[in-house]
Amino acid sequence: MTGAVAGLVAPAAAPRSRENLLRRIVRHRADYLYVAPALGVMALVIGYPIYYTIHLSFFRTPPNLALDEKIFAGLENYQRILEADTFQEATWNTFVWTIYSTFFSFVLGFGAALALNRAFHGRGLLRGVLLVPYVISAVAASYVWRWLYHSDVGVIGAFATALGLSDGPINFLDNRQWVMASLIVVNVWKEFPFAMIMLMAGLQTVPEQLLSAARVDGAGPWSRFRHVTVPHLKSVILVTVLLLLVTNLNSFTIPYIMTGGGPAGASEIWITHIYQIAFGRIRFGLASAYSVILFVVMMALGYFYVRALTASEEKAAA
């Protein structure tokens, strides 16, 4: 649940003041006391690590973590990562994992939001039930799914056999062909509720008059959905998709606990690979360079994210 929701709400533009900046800062000095603890914690736990990761990425670090002995290595770490065979496979896996997870979480979440966007008895309870996978720990979820996928006594394999879909136990997690799809199912299970709440929130803002006007004009459900609901939700959809992309690009627990990147790297994604290089092989310099590459991708997504936020702010102001 680390990939939290973030706002569509944007602060209203402050009135432009002719007063000089320094004076304004001094005049408002008491205000900063309110935000200081939050910003202090964030700077310590986020600001410093960003700086240090970039710094370390230019050094060869000894595997015993005696960081005083690190040696400046320029771009060597970057070069080594980009040239490694494992990088290509991990990149492809990351791409598959991120795109499919996002797509299916979004589609299921949107479907659930639409289905729940009607008044019926027990709606609140059903919404709560559908949110359960989202709140339980990824660790517990990973273990139960490992058990469901178990190659000898797994209930999914047993079910498939009973339906005649398979001759016997299926090796979901130990099979290069199946492993990624199996992991994506778990991830979608865990994540579609997030898309569901975001989109439910969005759906509540679609004005009823617009929908009924479209109905009067003879628009069917599909056409109302396409021409009224979707355009109205554009910014919510954008933010939801971006946050899903970011969360998936960053997900660690499910792949790490379920397969640890196996079999033979078939489910290794960037994040698990970085962890393995850092804490398995104790190559902090190398892992830092890898992280910086990931940062660059994240920042590109972040740019679109802030743009989406700003767009919704302008729309709100209009």
Binding site: A38, P49, L56, S137, Y275, A278
Partner: protein, 283 residues
């Protein structure tokens, strides 16, 4: 009146919801069913849909302070409670004034700082692990729950600040002004007027912080090496890796770990969803 045609969208909608509910709950149900089996019964193929001789043996052992398994498990649980509750309390204490300032005050750099806080969500936990591990080692906080509390604080803050700001924005400043005319200080006006009105938001952010801290895995895995310091998510793994995997035991432990968050969440989800809904999309 014309007879109403059956609406295919609504039939499809119900079928979809039914399947989705099954998909969502099936793993939890199987977790619980397995936890009631003996190890022998769990190894049967094809699996029994319901245990023939359901037993609470695994739960009894996990929760009894006299068994070796129970001793470890209860310690991990106590660690998790301590870390999560502390994170939650500190989170509220830090987030409330920040959100209030972002809502009420017009200080320079306000927008920039607000977006900077939100951008926290863009960064992968694993990437911060190395520098933070080095920093915690330097601060002497490895194997100290302080390192986890400090880190978990930043997970909850962006959402908390954003949600609470939404709540504070909706409370007319005139209410505070009225209280101040009646002689309350700024802080009293905040405490007795603004806080009660925004309590759904505060409750929602508290639940969120608690759940995040309770479930967190990778920082706990890296910062805590001492066996007595582990939190539940990491404890679970170590504990079942040492022996051959006892699936009913593992499922029972996972179930116990899931119960507090699910119960807390189901009770308070109305607040949670309300806060998200009000904070997420305002026009």
């Amino acid at each position: 009146m014309r007879a109403r045609k059956a609406n295919p969208w609504s039939i499809g909608g119900w079928a979809f919801l039914a399947l989705l509910t099954l998909f969502s709950l099936m793993p939890m149900a199987w977790m619980f069913i397995t936890s009631l089996k003996t190890q022998f019964a769990a190894a049967q193929y094809p699996p029994d849909w319901w245990p023939r001789n359901p037993t609470l043996e695994e739960y009894r052992e996990l929760l009894s302070p006299s068994s070796a398994m129970g001793q470890d498990f209860l310690r991990y649980m106590a660690n998790s409670v301590w870390v999560s509750v502390t994170t939650t309390i500190l989170g509220v204490v830090v987030a409330v004034p920040a959100a209030y300032a972002f809502s009420r005050f017009r200080f320079p750099g306000r927008n920039l700082l607000f977006y900077a806080v939100l951008l926290r969500n863009m960064f992968p936990a694993v990437v911060f692990l190395m520098p933070l591990f080095i920093m915690m080692r330097w601060l002497g906080l490895v194997n100290n729950h302080g390192s986890l509390i400090l880190t978990y604080l930043t997970f909850g803050l962006p959402l908390s600040i954003w949600l609470l700001k939404g709540f504070f924005d909706n409370i007319p400043p005139q209410l505070e002004q009225a209280a101040r005319i009646d002689g309350a200080t700024r802080f009293q006006a905040f405490l007795y007027v603004v806080m009660p009105l925004s309590s759904p938001g505060i409750i929602a952010t508290a639940i969120y912080s608690f759940i995040v801290a309770w479930n967190e895995y990778v920082y706990a895995l890296t910062f805590m090496n001492d066996k007595t310091k582990l939190t539940l998510p990491v404890g679970l793994q170590r504990f079942f890796a040492e022996h051959t995997t006892n699936w009913p035991g593992l499922m029972a432990a996972s179930f116990i770990m899931s119960v507090p968050v699910v119960v807390l969440f189901l009770f308070l989800q109305r607040h949670f969803v309300k806060a998200l809904t009000e904070g997420a999309v305002k026009h």
